[in-house]
Amino acid sequence: MRFLSLGPGEVAALLLLLLLLLFPAAAGAYQIRLATVIFMWAALAGSWNLLAGYAGAVDLGPVVYYGVGAFATAALMLRAHLPFLVSLVLAGGVAMVIAYAVGTPTLRLRGAYFAIGTLALAESAKQLALAWDRLTGIPLTGGSAGVSLPLSAGYLLFYYVMLALASLVTAAALWLGRSKFGYGLRAIGENDRLAEASGVNIHRLKRRVYVGSALLIAWTGGTAGYWLSYINASDFFGAGLTFQMVVMVLLGGLGTPFGPPLGALFLTLAAEILGTRFVYHYLIAIGVLIVAVSLFMPAGLAGVGRLLRSRRAGVQP
């Protein structure tokens, strides 16, 4: 088994990471902000991919941990006066505890029932967050008015935190591709009954990846909240975020380490470029693009290289 030997994709990813670390020195504020958005989506889509792409569990409620991360980070900064990064780390712990408690029963649901259950959960979480202050008397979410955070330190901090999160998620996916844990998850994703009969404790493995994915999503949510300096429950628990993660993963390549960052890059740039040219109609164009990619590249953008290689191999005698 290979542990430290790196494949060509991994070497390319490390070189890219090195370039991205130096990128702010050469780029303007707009490019840095745009790159930060891409990293944020790469981290979110990548976290969703860990559970759906490897263990085959389609979670339609990841946004719960995005919201929890944002509000917990904000509360720790505003009420406990902790520094941002300390608050962020602690908020991740809160999300993990909630994910453990929520995942234990819900991960026993299979297939479409898990998807429906988690979708309902996310909507409940949003309603709970909207009503929280009124119900409990503990100011946390600010109800429908939301919470404002102090204007932030500067965009470079967010560039590097989001880059770190996207890299961490991608590294986790690469690790799943070659570890015992990853093989167990893939077995569950392909045939959970058979995995169980082969000795895989499917509930424990699924819960572990669910909690890990919740941690990464919560950190991304906490960072996004401070970056935007204003958070409210309708946005941070909104199902739109979930569907954007799903679309990015499917565009990029489900169950692949580089699919989610590719999907995030593609969709964010497409929205940015088309959105400035066709302010009113760009969503139609994006819809057409999504349909085209899913029709002509069913394995996603990450599958294109493989497809071309096999085509080339096919024509050679």
Partner: protein, 240 residues
Amino acid sequence: MSILEVRALTKSFGSLVALDRVDLKLAEGEILGIIGPNGAGKSTLFNLIAGLERPSAGAVYYRGAAISGLTTDAVCRLGITKTFQIPQLFPRMSVLENVFVAGLYGKGVSLGPARYQAETWLEFVGLADKAAAAAETLSLPERRRLDLARVLATDARVLLLDENMAGLNQREVAASVALLRQVRDRGRSLMVIEHIMRAIADLADRVLVLNYGEKIAEGRPRDVMRDPAVIKAYLGEAYT
């Protein structure tokens, strides 16, 4: 001492009693054939032993310890696992990876040894040349052999084989019988559900006959096949 013991095992689905107070013992290194008409409770018996279903009453003992109530994966790691009547696989994994996963989790070894052992088991069942193929491309006889390699890789000591020869031609059945004898020689105890009487007569040390969830006969294959109750319930008059 018997490696597996089943006492008064009962399973009802509503008013239907699928398995009715069945007792059995499996000796270490024994091959026990399970026969009976469709719906007699053979697969239910296997599912109860392997932890896929919970018994309504009665208990299963492995090396003297009660195991009823454990989950399937725990039962597998303890040492009992089953193949499926319709052979199951991880379709998009390679043939090697199918066996490899069973070693990683069923036996609990790390990546290196699991890979080496998976290769050895594929060699043993005659699938070494297919190791890199996607499992979903295998033919039915190959799928049955893969299923066997998988349960062997879990290192379970008791193997429950549910119609592992169904759909095979005569030559393949003979090869399968020879292979299962070798499995026994490697320290496994087997319970085998089978409809092919010649294979059962060749392979099994003892045979247990189920009918409507009840045990109606048990003994050496040749004796059981002469039993009037067995002929009436299952084999049919023409068989004698």
